[in-house]
Subunit: 187 residues, 2 copies
DNA sequence: GTCTATAGGAAGATAGAC
DNA sequence: GTCTATCTTCCTATAGAC
């Protein structure tokens, strides 16, 4: 694999595990098996490399979500598939975790791809809820944007609770609790 | 205010804003207006001081939650009061944000008070849901532990989405979406 | 493209004076 | 209890050779 690619992937991993503040250029170089000069030849510095890594992770998150969300089946089926997909729960969300990184939030270049990822996700979920309403699967009282935000929040919050507990259990409880709250098909 | 107290409170603020990895002893000393020697006289180091600060923040979170959760009113009223309480949404949760800090998660002494805080919160919310079931406010099909985890997750995830967006809107959408999903009183 | 050398500053303490 | 000095290592680059 080329150096640039190794640098980006190593940065993705380190950002996921340690965040931006907790990741040093030296650690990236070690993980990518690239030298100091090599890294600074391809990127202006840590920030630019992080930007590339975050964009990549955002694209991967969208693709992975689309796998379940674009399936056939009812709205609830697709949402349930998405919620119950295999996830590395205890590692947290590689995008969501960056929202607690002060240097990421302070730099618009770094925050933008995070914003775009979640904005896309909420819009995509809202579309599916809206489809469910049109099908008569959901009642007219269900607000697509609100419900979409709730679904995305349960996942992000589920990660937080699971990591706090050191166990996937709270994540799974939260997801099941949400699925039970979703309206039954109004056949 | 005494030095120890200023050190703890300054550490609470810095952990909230910058996390553990992003907070240096020097920054704490500056914020607390305390010298190097003073800080190391009262605490063995950054970790011990952080532990004290996290315990304090956890206690404050529990007290604040209890304000709404121990009120009179139906289960849904109390849960809604809790969800809709004034919060500094864009600052995130001072406890939840620490779950993305690698050095906090790696140190059992630091993770413990976080675990305890959320375990308490979920149990407290589950009690209220269980009360709602006994009153006939909620159907027998509602699982208290699941629903409690969902409620806690919506808040934690709401913070994440809001910070990603740089706006409180997603938080408020997620909360409203959840409230709409909670069962109507089965009068 | 990649490597080594160098650099100013911060991180996280420890030691001993006052 | 608090202050200043000192220490080692790491951080984030930049410069210039190969």
């Amino acid at each position: 694999m080329e150096t640039v690619e190794r640098l980006i992937r190593s940065t993705q991993e380190l950002l996921w595990e340690r965040g931006y503040v907790g990741t040093s250029p030296k650690a990236i170089q070690r993980a990518a098996d690239a030298g100091q000069g090599s890294m600074y030849h391809h990127f202006t510095g840590k920030a630019q490399l992080a930007r590339a890594a975050i964009e990549r992770s955002g694209a991967e998150l969208r693709e992975a979500a689309e796998d379940q969300l674009s399936g056939s089946g009812t709205a609830t089926e697709r949402i349930t598939d998405y919620l119950e997909r295999d996830r590395e729960v205890l590692r947290g969300c590689r995008i969501g975790r960056l929202t607690s990184d002060p240097d990421v939030m302070a730099d618009p270049e770094l925050r933008q791809p995070i914003d775009e990822t979640f904005t896309w996700l909420r819009a995509r979920l809202a579309e599916i809820v809206a489809e469910g309403k049109r099908n008569g699967e959901y009642p007219g009282s269900l607000d697509p944007e609100q419900t979409a935000a709730t679904i995305a929040a349960v996942l992000q919050g589920g990660y937080v609770l699971a990591r706090a507990a050191g166990s996937v259990e709270p994540f799974e409880l939260a997801v099941k609790g949400l699925i039970n709250l979703l309206p039954e098909a109004t056949k």
